[in-house]
């Protein structure tokens, strides 16, 4: 704003007027300005600074040395046996304390859907005595062990709130009996073993299958038995032949040989033949349906002998050998005498 001042005043007084101030006072001393130190780094500081800027040195100082020191301190501290034992004991104690809190304890076990035998086995399988901490019960391992029981199809294990170990068991249902060289077993619908049986009479209501490898084809056997409808009263059982195909065994020693493939159709065909011509009521020992294009029938001994008598041929005995007429007469006579 100096430009606005009257010009003459400046000229007349020759510069700025002195400020009005008390006589003895002196101007305040100028503030002691801090003389800035020469900021140049010393040669050593400069070299150290440049060394610290090398990436490897930097990494060493920032990561390597702290890590080394931490490892060193930890190592020295842990070198004492007592301290190590104290440390592990302390950690174990804390872990134990947490794991055995009331919230984590399992007090009882409930089992649903299991028969008494399975129930007993399952209770015996739990590795720890209840009550125990739920951290000690490994449910996955326990489930695998339970599933190894033949009678159990599926098991649902869980720890419910309130400290209950719940097991929901689905048992296998026996649908067929399997007689083989080593005994009799009960099988479910997939052919898996359920239990062993001491005799046929234990479960007389179940159909029976026999032969090696019959358990692996149990599903097919069940289908065949279902399809056997009209001849079911006469059905004795099914026999696996050569681990390959089925024989349907009826009473009176009759036997229907089914092919390895399309056994069901072959059986239905046999039933149809029976229904049309009541074939099975006749004296027929074997109906061989193994070749689909050419069913073969073996007659019973009576029927064969009737044909042979009509033809004037000697009869056959039970072994299929023709009977000498003299011997036949003798025996006839003997039988008459006896009669």
């Amino acid at each position: 704003m100096q430009g606005l001042n009257p010009f003459s005043r400046m000229q007349g007084e020759g510069g700025r007027p002195a400020p009005a101030r008390p006589v003895p006072a002196r101007p305040a001393p100028a503030q002691q300005r801090v003389q800035r130190r020469d900021p140049a780094p010393s040669r050593l500081a400069y070299r150290l600074n440049r060394m610290m800027l090398r990436p490897i040195v930097r990494r060493l100082v920032h990561i390597g040395i702290p890590a080394f020191l931490a490892a060193l301190v930890a190592g020295i501290w842990l070198s004492d046996e007592t301290r190590r034992a104290n440390l592990t004991g302390g950690i174990d104690g804390i872990v134990d304390k947490v794991q055995h809190r009331e919230a984590f304890m399992v007090k009882m076990m409930t089992i649903e859907g299991a028969s008494p035998v399975v129930d007993k086995g399952l209770r015996a399988m739990v590795p720890v005595d209840l009550p125990a901490s739920s951290f000690d019960i490994d449910l996955d391992t326990l489930r695998e062990r339970v599933l190894k029981l033949d009678a159990v199809e599926a098991v649902d294990l869980r720890i419910k709130p309130g400290g209950i170990l719940s097991a929901v068991v689905t048992e296998r249902v026996p649908v067929v009996m399997w007689r083989h060289a080593r005994g009799i077993e009960l099988l479910d619908k997939t052919g898996h073993r359920v239990a062993s049986a001491t005799s046929r009479e234990v479960r007389g209501d179940l159909p029976i299958i026999a032969g090696e490898g019959a358990d692996r084809a149990a599903a097919e056997a069940l289908a065949l038995i279902d399809a056997a409808g009209p001849i079911l009263p006469r059905l004795r059982g099914l026999e696996r032949v050569g681990e390959r195909r089925w024989d349907v065994v009826l009473d009176r020693g009759q036997r229907i040989k089914l092919p390895a493939e399309d056994a069901l159709q072959a059986l239905e065909r046999a039933i149809a033949l029976d229904r049309a011509q009541s074939m099975l009521d006749r004296d027929i020992a074997v109906i061989d349906l193994r070749h689909a294009a050419r069913p073969v029938v073996r007659l019973g001994l009576e029927a064969q002998n009737a044909i042979r008598v009509a033809r004037g041929q000697p009869k056959l005995d039970a072994n299929g050998q023709p009977i000498d007429p003299e011997i036949a007469k003798k025996t006839d006579k003997n039988s008459k005498n006896n009669g």
């Binding site: 001042n5 101007p27 001393p29 100028a30 300005r33 140049a40 780094p41 400069y46 600074n49």
Partner: protein
Amino acid sequence: MRDLCQGQRAMRSMRRQAMQRGVIAVLDIGTSKIACLVLQFDGPGQFRETDGVGPMAGQSNFRVIGTAHTRSRGMRYGEIETMAETERAIRTVIQSAQKVAGVRVDHVIACISGARPASYGLAGEISLSAGKVTEQCVARVLGACDVPDFGRGREVLHAQPVNFAIDGRSGLSDPRDQSGNKLACDMHVLTIDGDAAGNLVHCIRRCDMELAGVASASYASGLAALVEDEQELGAACIDLGGGTTGVSVFIRKHMIFADAVRFGGELITQDIAKGLRVSHAVAERLKTLHGGLEATGRDDREMIELGGETGDWDTDRRAVSRADLIGIMRPRVEEILEKVGEILDAAGFDFMPSRQIVLTGGGSQIPGLDVLASRMLGQSVRIGRPLRIQGLPHNATAPSFSSAIGLALLTAHPQDEWWDFDMPTEHYPARSLRRAYRWFRNNW
């Protein structure tokens, strides 16, 4: 000139090493301040056109990652006077630039402003036996330039081929593969005082840095402050520095002349300090805050408090008008510009097609300088600020940084120098090679 060539070649290979590493520092050692820029070279192809970064005059392949400047110590007239002090200043500036950049820098390119530069125009001519110019022919014609006596203890700082002519067709910038019978060349050689250059090299070595090149500060500031058209059509760059005032003349993108006056801004400060009887720091503050060259009537009424710390009330409470200050500064600036004008006359600047004058450097910030300079030197005068380069902070875009920025540009795109061409074959020790070859053939 052969041993000099070796030294310059060693610096070129050092520069190539630095480029491979990707980080290099440029150091502008001036009389009043030392500036250091740390450049990072990313290689070409870092930016695409779609990123919005165009070619940017071919300098988008590097960026500044660290900047620092400090008060210069132990320097006078652009030369090292006290080596330990200068070394400390260089240490300071390099350490702070490294701190900003966060990387270690091992290679440095420096520029020297003083050391009594002298430029020579050399001419050479050879006849072409093959009828065609090859790479070796260029080296040979450069070697055939008749070298004048530079004087005792002079070192060649720049030796740049400026012009080639084949059979009277002059003005070729690249004569290779052209056919003709005679090849002539003009070369511009800039020599400086060898001891000053040696001091600089020694000083940088003591800071554990490898010197990857030395350039003239007036050349570097010309590169930064002149735009491309001015370099092409002919212009002079006047770098008003602290201790020296550098002059460089460019035409057709080549420097054809460089010189330096041993007057600068420090001298103006000294005049103010003497004339007003104030300390150097106060004089510097008066010059930068209130200085000027054209006095008006209003400046008589504008009183400037001098201040001071002598403790004497009358001395500390003095005030001068701005006109007084201008009266002290103006004769000195006129003297500097007169000296510059003499140099330009000696360089034949009047005969150039375009007589553009660009003022740069810290001294060019004095208000009214462009008016005074156009009155004294010629009509077309402008104040030039340095080119903007990528990553440069705002406080380093002032005209006083033009030589540092020009040095960065020169680092990115070095000018062809005489030592960049292969040594002429007749000087190669072919006999010993042939003997070694024969020995190999006989023994294996």
